[in-house]
Structure formats: C-alpha cells, structure tokens
C-alpha cells in the first residue's frame, strides 16, 4: 500500500520532470493546455495549463510529495490507508491549484486542499492537534470563502461589462474590470490570499498548525500550501485587478516587510524547533511578497524564485525535524545539544539547509532573497535596508538554533539518537542537490520564470496606462 502510493507519487514526479523538460521558456502564454467546456451557461471550463510562474510550483509539489511519504514510513503506523488517501488527495488539490486556468476550477482545488489537511493534522498530529487543525481550517476557510465572493464579483463585473459570463482566466485577462468594482473584489481576494501566505497579521494559525502536524504534513504545509497564497496574488489579483493592486502595493509591501522582521524576531525567541522554522516561513514568504509587489522584473522573478527555494529549504528542514523527532520524540531545543557528535551526517545535512535558509551566497535562497530585495531597492531604498535586517536576523536565529542543538554539551535526549538511515539519506539527497544547483546556476529556474514575470508586469502596468491615470 505504501509502495503503491509512493510509486504513484514518483510517477507524478516523473511526469512533472517531463513537463519541465518539454517546457519552452520563451514561448508566450500557457503551455500544455487542456480545455474542455463544462458549463456553458456559467462560462465555466475545465482549463488547465502551466506557464513560467506555475511550472516550478508544480515540480516542487511533485517532488515534495514522495519525500514526505518516505519520511513517514516509520512514523505513521496507525490508519495508514487513510493517511495515504488524504495525502494523495492533498497532492491532487495542490497541483490542481497551480495549473487551473479557470477561476471556478481554481477555487475547487483551493478548497479541496483543506479537507485532507484537516485530517492529516487532526488524526496523525501531536498532542494539541485538534485545536491546531480546527484553527487552521476555520481561519483559512474564512479567507477562502471571502475569496469566493471576490471570484464571483470578478465574473459578475466581467459579465456586466461585456455581456458574457465567464470564469476563464484567459478571457478575464483580456478585458479589464472597471476600477469601481475592483476595490471590494480585491479586498475579498486579499483576505483569502493573505491568510494563506500567511501575511502578517494573519499568520497566527501557522505556528500551531506546523507544530502539531506530523512531519509529512508540515513539509507539505510549508513547502507548498503557503505558496498558494502568493500564487493567488500572481495569477488572479494582479493581472485582473490591476488598479486595485497598484493602489494596494504600499500596504502589501509594508505587511511583507513587517512579516520579515517580526517573523525573524519571534523565531529568535522560540524553544520549539518547529515553531522556529514556522516563524521563519513567515519571514521568508515576506521576502516573496516584497519581491513580487515591487513590480519590476528583478523583484517579481526574485519573489517567485524565493517561493521555490523556500519550499526546498524549509521543506528539507521539516523533513530533518521529523527525522529527529522520530528518535528523540521532542522538538524542544533545550532537550538537545551536541547532536553533531551522535549524528554527524544529520548535522551535516541540517547545516546545509540551515545555511541555505539563512541566505548564504552560493546556496539557493540567496538568489531569491537578493533579487527580491533588489526589486524593492528600486522602489524604495529605505525599505530595502529594513528588509536586509531580516536577512541578518535569519542568520542570527538559524545559527543560534544550530549551535544550541548540534554543538556544545550533550543534552538530555542526545544519548538515544542514532544517525541517518539509508532511506533518510536518499530522501534528503535530491533537495541537497537542488540547494546547490539553484544556488550556483539559478538560471534553470529563472529561465522559465522570467518571461512569466515580464508578462505579469506588462499586464499590471499596461492596463494602468490604458485606462488612464488615477
């Protein structure tokens, strides 16, 4: 059964690799399109396809799923079938969100992700899981239901202007919406996406959800689910609601910045390793938001790349934490110490991903963060200095974590630890390779992203120019 699920997810990974190889970065528009009419009276179609912005996310999801399944081979022993079912449905929903080119379909996949996540955290999580998963579902459901009304508003506004009701993104991109409607629609969409990212101050569901989730759940949550929010802004809000988005740029840049610094400071204070990494996710995705909303080529490509990099490095960190938990059954930093002596290979892997998360040049996160901050620098210099503070703080809490857990005197639990098994090394290796690859030669990822970013910026700025100055 596990083998079957693993095999299926590896097959999906293979398909996504083929997709990535066959993708033509320079070609405009969406590729690998599938379009089938679904409901003509409402203009709903089954349209899916990828472009530069979503390709990386699809590959990321396909990569992280088998790795998560591998890490739960030992730790999930109860109701395994249900776990595998939930996990595969989760993967379906996640990939669906990233490839949907019809807003109705987008919403269906968006919500579809909630149900398996609820069960994954609620059934296979840790002590306080019921509270955490309930908070997670209700908070994000609140946002996504508002997003639904926003989507309905887009369709209705479009219908009012052109007389044709449609949910297809391609059509909605062509005709803009009147600015008067854009205001409230953007607000509704904002809540849905901001809660998912999570953008400060809507982030309070994240730490508990992460801490209480099983390792595999945390990996998917941090690695992929959080990207849905940023992707939503990229795919839906920015191109269609350009004026409102432009008006909201200061707000989003501000919240992103606050998230970067706030997340870092709170991470510094944590004793729980998972919570620390959770808050670091808030910080890293703050960089993503900053990059994207600076609305220049460097910023947007940096922000999108940052999403992928964060998925890789934070996903890896949660994998490692899951491995550690399997042995020590605790996430508390104070329980550990001098782990490097007992688990040298583990310490090495953790070190690589910790430095990656910090943004060390030569490793993947550096490229994304650098480009994002550069993008912000072109818009507002003072703000970019503030963002750099976040980078420094990231180094601080990561190094502090590493020092307290791996170096120094042995802690309470250090005695019973054993080093990585072959399976665990196997599942970490692809991520290590990616960390170095994208750090040294990021063009592999940036190549497809750049045209997509250019088109996005054209869509936002161009429409603004066309419909007159505010």
């Amino acid at each position: 059964m596990r083998a079957f699920a693993l095999g299926a997810s590896l097959f999906v990974l293979l398909l996504s690799a083929v997709l990535a190889l066959a993708f033509e970065p320079a070609a405009p528009g969406f590729q690998f399109l599938v379009r089938a009419p679904w409901s003509s009276s409402y203009g709903i179609t089954y349209s899916v396809g990828v472009d530069g912005l979503s390709l990386g996310l699809v590959v990321l999801t396909a990569l992280l799923t088998p790795l998560s399944l591998l890490v739960s081979y030992r730790s999930i022993q109860d109701r395994v079938r249900g776990f595998l079912i939930a996990f595969l449905i989760l993967e379906t929903g996640l990939i669906g969100v990233f490839i949907a080119l019809d807003l109705f379909l987008f919403y269906i996949f968006w919500e579809l992700v909630l149900v398996p996540m609820y069960f994954i955290i609620g059934v296979w999580g840790h002590e306080n899981r019921i509270y955490a998963t309930t908070k997670f579902v209700l908070y994000t459901l609140f946002g996504s239901l508002l997003m639904l009304v926003g989507i309905l508003g887009i369709a209705a506004a479009h219908a009012k202007e052109t007389g044709v009701i449609t949910f297809e993104l391609a059509r909605l991109y062509q005709t803009g919406l009147t600015p008067s409607w854009q205001g409230w629609i953007f607000l509704c969409l904002f809540f849905g996406f901001a809660i998912k990212i999570p953008l400060f101050p809507f982030h309070t569901w994240l730490p508990d959800a992460h801490v209480q989730a099983p390792a595999a759940g945390s990996v998917m949550l941090a690695g992929v689910l959080l990207k849905m929010g940023v992707y939503g802004f990229l795919r839906v809000a920015l191109p269609i609601l350009s004026q409102a988005s432009l008006a909201a740029v200061p707000l989003l840049l501000g919240l992103g910045l606050i998230g970067v610094v706030y997340g870092a400071f709170v991470a510094l204070a944590q004793d729980d390793m998972k919570r620390l990494v959770a808050y670091s996710s808030v910080a890293h995705l703050g960089f993503s938001v900053i990059g994207i909303f600076s609305l220049n080529l460097e910023g947007v490509s940096g922000g999108v790349l940052q999403m992928l990099n964060h998925g890789i490095s934070t996903g890896a960190l949660f994998l490692l934490l899951g491995i550690l938990y399997e042995r020590g059954h605790s996430y508390r930093i104070s329980d550990y110490g001098g782990v490097a002596m007992r688990m040298p290979r583990f310490a090495a892997f953790f070190g690589i991903f910790a430095f990656s998360s910090m943004g060390l040049p030569g490793l993947n996160n550096f490229v994304g963060e650098f480009l994002s901050i550069f993008g912000l620098f072109k818009v507002n210099r003072a703000a970019s200095v503030f963002a750099l503070l976040g980078v420094v703080l990231a180094a601080w809490y990561m190094l502090k974590l590493y020092q307290r857990v791996f170096l120094g005197a042995p802690g309470v639990l250090t005695g019973r630890l054993r080093d990585l098994s072959g399976r665990e090394i196997a599942l970490l290796t692809p991520l290590v390779i990616l960390v170095f690859w994208l750090g040294i030669y990021p063009e592999t990822a940036l190549g497809p992203i750049r045209p997509g970013a250019e088109r996005l910026i054209d869509a936002v700025q161009g429409r603004f120019v066309m419909e007159g100055v505010l």
Binding site: E111, F119, I130, V149
Partner: protein, 462 residues
C-alpha cells in the same frame, strides 16, 4: 379531471390502508412499510408521468398546477420515501409505532400535495393544516424513549403553529375583504398595483405564517425544540419535506398575491435572510444535541435560500423569473444532504455529540458519508452544497446584492465551526471502551448511499 388528483388519492388510500393494517396486523411493521413505500413510489410515478400539458387553471375546481411547485413536489416525495425507510429502521423494536408514524407521514405528504395544488386560499389553508397536524402528532410519538420532552416539543409546536395558522386565516379574510375573491391567481396576478392598505395588512399576516413555516428568524422559535423532541426520522422529514412544502407555500402566497415578490419587500426578505443565516449559525455552535444542531442549521440554510428569493420577480416560465433554477438546485441539494446526514444519525441512534464519538472506528463508511454530508452542508467543493451556494451567491452578486453574498460567505465560514465539531467527534476523538465494527442497517444504508450519490452527482453537474 379526476386523473389530476390520482397522486393525492393514492396517498390518501395508502395512509388509511396503513392505519387499518396497523390495527389488524399488530406488529407487522414490514407490511406497512412496503405498502407505504409502494404508495409513495406509485404517486411519484403517476405524478411525473402526468405531466401532459395541464392548463394553468382548472377553473371549475379550486385547484391549480404551479410548475415551480411541481418540481418541489417531486423532491418532497423522494424525501418522503427516504424518511419512511428510516422510520421502519428506527422503530424496528416497536413496529406499531412505525406503522402509526408512517401513516402520519403519508397524511402529511397528502397535505403537501393539496397545498401545492391549491387554487384559492381556503384550499391552501386546508393543505397547510393537513400537512402540519400529522407532524404535531409524529413529533410526540417519541414518548417511549424521550418521555416528557417529546410531548413538550409537540405541544410547543402545536400551540405556536396554531397561532401561525390563525394569523394566516385572518390575513386571508382581510385579503378577501380587499379583493372580493379567494382565488389565488385572481385579480392580483395582473400586478402589484392593486395592493391597498387592507390587502397589504393581510399579506403581512400571511407572510408571517410563511416565515413561521420556513423557520426563518424571528419566527423560528418552535424549530429547535420540535426537532429535538421528535424521533430522528420525523426530524428528517421536518427538515426536508416540510421545508420544501414551506417554500411552495411561500411562492404561492407571496407570488400569487402580488404577482411576484413586491419590490418593497425585497429589503425585508434580505434582512430576514441575513438574520436567519447569522442567528442560525451562531446558535448552532453551542449545541451538543445533534437534532437541535440540525434545526439551527436548517434555519441558516433557509437564510441562504432567502438570498435567492430576494431576486425573484414575476413573469417568465412557471410564473417566476430570476434565480429560480438556483433556488431549486439549492433546495434539492439541501434536501439530499440533510436527509443523508439524518440517515446516519438515525441508523446509529445518535442523539448527542457523545454518541458520534469514535464513529470512524465503529463504521468507517458511515463516518465517511456523514463527513461528506456535513462538508456539503458547509459548502466545500466538490459537493452539491458548494455548487448550490455558488449559484445563489453568483446570482446575488450579479444583481448587485454583494453585501448579502459576502454575508452568506462569512456565515458559511461560521457554520464550519459546528459542522467540523461533529466531524471531529467522529474522526479525531476516541470513545471510551473498545470500538467494535457495527454494520449499517440495510434500509438507512440505502438512503445514505442514494443521498451521497446525489450530493456528489449534483456537485459535478451543470
């Protein structure tokens, strides 16, 4: 002409037959069940097949066919079928009670048909009373298990229902005074211009009764107690078929009288919709008794449906235009998911949240289906409940009532609180003692699966 009334005749004959069978063959619940099921199926078949173009008016009888009502009648019969199956299983230890309550359900279905075919106010009133009196009795039929609670629920419902009916009669008399005729589709069908102060007062009184039957806030107070005190299949009947009939009642009363929803009333209905959604969802959060929780849930769903009602206008096919299809779709999916949820509750004799605990271990299939129905009630894709809300909200946004759509969306999030509580109890919480697998009784299983198929199928169509 009598062919017109064949379904009603079948239902009437069946209920009398079941009563006779009950007294003759004491304890032969199975025979009554099959008779009742056969009768309802026959009525359904005849009703559907009898769709040869009927005149909108049958002037020589105080009856009229109303295309919108006819569709809902089909839903009602299907719901009635499900409820009868659930009844037979719920009262398997007391077949006499099963036959009695089945007969009451059949009478009530007959009343709904009379209500739906009404061409003038008195027939409408007759149908209304014939529909609700058996329900008063059916609510009380749980005394063996719930004792005084059941009687109390029944008496509360009876007294409040009686007052509501009295309001209706007085309203009818005022309308008669204003218009000189009792016919529904008489002089008023031409347009709302003929409304005078007298007829408006009458209309208001009648509307009060309508909203009472719908259990819309602020006339909902009977619902939680009645739902809690009744046996679960009867509660299912109240939540599905009676709600459907109440909507027929709504369309007939308001529509026939004023040729559509009067423009001045749109704001009032929107307000009632808003407070029904909010009040219903808000109060459901604290409930631990599942029948009561479902009562508040049904109040909230009436609120969502009233969002669609605010957009209805006169004209078009079936006498209405506007979001008619969305409303029918919502009603159909609401009935399917509510009946499905109740079938799980009835099959396992679940009354409170404690009874649900650990259901996933006792019966994984039933727990999964319950989760499906509850997720559909919340409005999570890809279920029918989501699509129904989608259509209603879309129609509201298209017509500019964005505030209502946002309120509906926020209320759905609020509703997730209590629906998740039940799912949580079923899956995430453990019950004390060992959890052995319990098979699902066959009858309710069939109902569950049929409802689940509907919920999934409706969620994918259109």
């Amino acid at each position: 002409m009598m062919a017109f009334a064949v379904p009603e005749i079948i239902l009437c004959a069946a209920s009398l037959t079941v009563l006779v069978l009950d007294s003759l063959f004491q304890g032969r619940g199975r025979l009554s069940l099959w008779t009742a099921l056969f009768a309802v199926s026959a009525a359904l078949a005849v009703f559907i097949l009898n769709q040869a173009p009927l005149p909108f008016f049958l002037a020589h009888a105080n009856l009229a066919r109303d295309p919108l009502g006819q569709v809902i009648q089909v839903f009602i019969l299907l719901a009635g079928l499900g409820v009868l199956i659930l009844l037979a299983d719920y009262f398997r230890d007391d077949p006499a009670a099963s036959s009695r309550v089945s007969a009451l359900i059949l009478f009530s279905l007959l009343g709904m048909f009379v209500l739906a075919s009404a061409g003038d106010f008195l027939v409408l009133y007759l149908g209304l009373e014939l529909m609700t009196f058996p329900i008063y009795l059916a609510v009380a039929s749980h005394a063996a298990r719930k004792g005084r609670l059941s009687y109390e629920a029944s008496v509360k419902y009876f007294v409040m229902g009686g007052i509501a009916s009295a309001f209706f009669l007085y309203g009818v008399s005022l309308v008669f005074a204003a218009g000189g005729t009792l016919k529904l589709y008489g002089p008023w069908a031409q347009g709302p211009g003929v409304l005078t102060a007298l007829s408006v007062t009458g209309l208001t009184l009648m509307a009060a009764t309508v909203f009472f039957k719908l259990s819309a806030v602020p006339l909902h107070f009977w619902a939680p107690d009645a739902y809690e005190g009744a046996p679960t299949p009867v509660t299912a009947f109240m939540a599905t078929a009676v709600k459907g009939a109440a909507f027929i009642f709504l369309f007939k009363t308001l529509g026939a009288l004023a040729g559509g929803i009067p423009a001045q009333w749109t704001g009032l209905i929107a307000l009632i919709s808003l407070i029904s959604m909010t009040w219903g969802n808000w109060l459901a959060i604290r409930q631990t008794h599942l029948n009561r929780l479902m009562a508040y849930s049904s109040i909230a769903h009436v609120g969502y449906m009233l969002i669609g009602v605010t957009g209805l206008n006169a004209g078009g096919s079936g006498g209405w235009s506007g979001p008619v299809e969305s409303l029918l779709f919502y009603l159909a999916s609401y009935m399917a998911m509510t009946l499905g949820a109740f079938s799980v509750l009835s099959a396992f004799r679940i009354e409170t949240l404690d009874d649900v605990r650990g259901l996933s271990k006792r019966s994984p299939v039933a727990a999964a289906l319950l989760a499906l129905f509850l997720l559909s009630l919340t409005g999570i894709p890809p279920t029918a409940g989501f699509l129904a809300k989608f259509y209603i909200f879309l129609d509201a946004v298209k017509e500019g009532r964005v505030g209502l759509a946002i309120a509906g969306a926020l209320n759905s999030a609020l509703a997730a609180f209590y629906y998740l509580k039940v799912i949580r109890a079923a899956y995430l919480e453990e019950e004390e003692g060992d959890a052995r697998r319990v098979p699902i009784p066959r009858g309710p299983a069939a109902v569950m699966i049929a409802c689940a198929a509907l919920v999934i199928f409706l969620g994918l169509c259109r």
